[in-house]
Amino acid sequence: MTDSAGVPLLRVENLIRSFGGIKATDNLSLDVLPGELHAIIGPNGAGKTTLISQLTGQLMPNSGAIHFAGRDVTAVPAYQRSRLGLARSFQITSLLRDFTAIDNVAIAAQAHDGHSFRFWGAARKEKHLRDAAQAALTRVGLGQRANVLVSELSHGEQRELELAVALATKPQLLLLDEPMAGLGVTESARMVALLKELRKEVTIVLVEHDMEAVFALADRITVLVYGRVIASGDPDAIRNNEEVKRAYLGDQHAVTRHG
């Protein structure tokens, strides 16, 4: 798939991961080019989150390789991948609930700003961390909510905060695991608008069930079924792919509606 367009930022080769007898990732290969928004779709149980977890290093594959920014990161632990510029958001919101919104983002910024074995100075008074955090919050539309505890933010706001946290790590590649999950219509529209802005600056891998959003945003779409890639191409090609239509029988309407 690599052509003259350039070296892929992320290259997944023959990845296999099984749980018991079930292959959640079945000989999966995938390229993500710099600057593109690459969507990964598939029915429930297709292994999308399993794939994301292997990309971020939370889960180790049984075999296969993952290359990121020209480096083999297959065996690199999660925290180091984050340092290399790989950030993720979680399908089920995963934040520091007893911290404020700005603390959540500042801690993420801190992880990528020197080391954290500093025991004396007050972290909340480090202006550049707070400024970076505030900027990321403003970016996702939470500028006014900086000092609110995460547990008191609405679900939609928490989804946005997930994004701000990921952005604060200054990623080269953003892995978004269903950022629209549980969002209402207006919130989803806001998220799509936000992602449209973000994709100009950062390469994004988007796992999403909301087909409307996927087809509105993606440069390229990869379709997974039972851990295997059944199709990969631009939105038009995917929309007209017979095998995809079959896999999405129930959702066929959603796939074909936009065009």
Binding site: P77, I107, R118, A123
Partner: protein, 316 residues
């Protein structure tokens, strides 16, 4: 929280700090020596509880073996005194270093586990320390080791003087709390608390969670080792009994009483716990029968302990 500095919680903290500072004056005026010795003990345990609070309250590490550090710090002083090395300038650094080393080894092993397993493994290691010291026949074994001469500091301070010793303990407590305050609000402290809140999230944004946990564990153990050195000087005696798991449990109760994750909470908790123990044991030897239900009530109805309740009062 920033809105008003004058609230129930801060007033109580200020009054307690002032009371502790002026206590020797009261003792001298009234000739009540008992209260001075009682509070010396309270202050030492408050330091131990504060160190436990650092990992339990802020770090989310439920160590059930914290009494081991009291013992290790104490035995370092006791053994060196027994071997003729009386200088605190040697005894105390050894006490701290031994506690830190023990924490490093125990932490590196225990922190592979979480939850109940962590509680159990820290408990098991502390019990091992208990049995090891019981076997030190040269140093009294089961019966413990009497310290005939308190640590000397080249004439700078006389630990046999009740008032001087009291103020030394108090300085260690205030110093320890100040240190913990700085740590909690530092970059390091933010990471430790973040890991308590959501380890997976912290890994995902680039932190190697266990490294921070381990360092926090060692700092806590070292501070508690200092409390151990103080305690040995206070009682002129160290014994394996001081490392028994019930002692670790008492430290946990002190922290929970006062309020986990509250800076001054362990001090309040220790004062309440040890005063209650003192009072109740005058009436009945079954004082634990009253203490137990009391703890239950606090856990059930006063989340965040005494400091939590005061904090809620402040907000209204």
């Amino acid at each position: 929280m920033k809105s008003s500095t004058i609230n129930a919680r801060n007033v109580v903290v200020a009054l307690v700090a002032l009371g502790l500072t002026l206590l020797p004056v009261y003792s001298a005026l009234t000739g009540n020596i008992f209260i001075l010795t009682l509070f010396t003990r309270i202050i030492i345990f408050a330091l131990a509880a504060a160190s436990l609070n650092l990992i339990m309250g802020y770090g989310g590490m439920m160590s059930f073996g914290h009494a081991a550090y009291l013992g290790i710090g104490g035995y370092a002083v006791g053994i060196l005194a027994f071997e003729g090395i009386g200088s605190g300038f040697i005894q105390w650094p050894v006490a701290l270093a031994a506690s830190a080393l023990y924490a490093l080894v125990i932490g590196a092993l225990s922190l592979r586990t979480r939850g109940v397993y962590f509680i159990m493994i820290t408990l098991a290691f502390a019990q091992m320390a208990y049995y090891v010291t019981s076997g030190l026949s040269r140093y009294g074994g089961d019966d413990g080791l009497t310290i005939y001469k308190r640590s000397t500091f080249g004439g700078l301070i006389d630990l046999s003087n009740r008032t001087q010793f009291y103020y030394l303990c108090l300085a260690c407590l205030f110093g320890g709390i100040y240190l913990i305050w700085r740590i909690v609000n530092s970059r390091f402290g933010m990471v430790v608390q973040g890991v308590r809140s959501n380890e997976q999230r912290m890994q995902a944004i680039g932190y190697h969670a266990n490294r921070y946990r381990l360092v926090c564990f060692v700092i806590s153990g070292t501070i508690c080792g200092l409390a151990g050195a103080l305690l040995a000087n206070n009682t002129d005696f160290v014994s394996p009994a001081g490392m028994y798991w019930t002692r670790s449990g008492e430290l946990m109760v002190m922290v929970v009483f006062g309020g986990m994750g509250s800076l001054f909470g362990p001090v309040i908790g220790t004062i309440v716990f040890l005063l209650l123990e003192e009072l109740l044991s005058q009436f009945t030897e079954y004082w634990a029968l009253i203490m137990g239900p009391l703890l239950l009530l606090i856990v059930l109805f006063a989340r965040g302990g005494i400091m939590g309740v005061l904090g809620r009062l402040s907000r209204d």
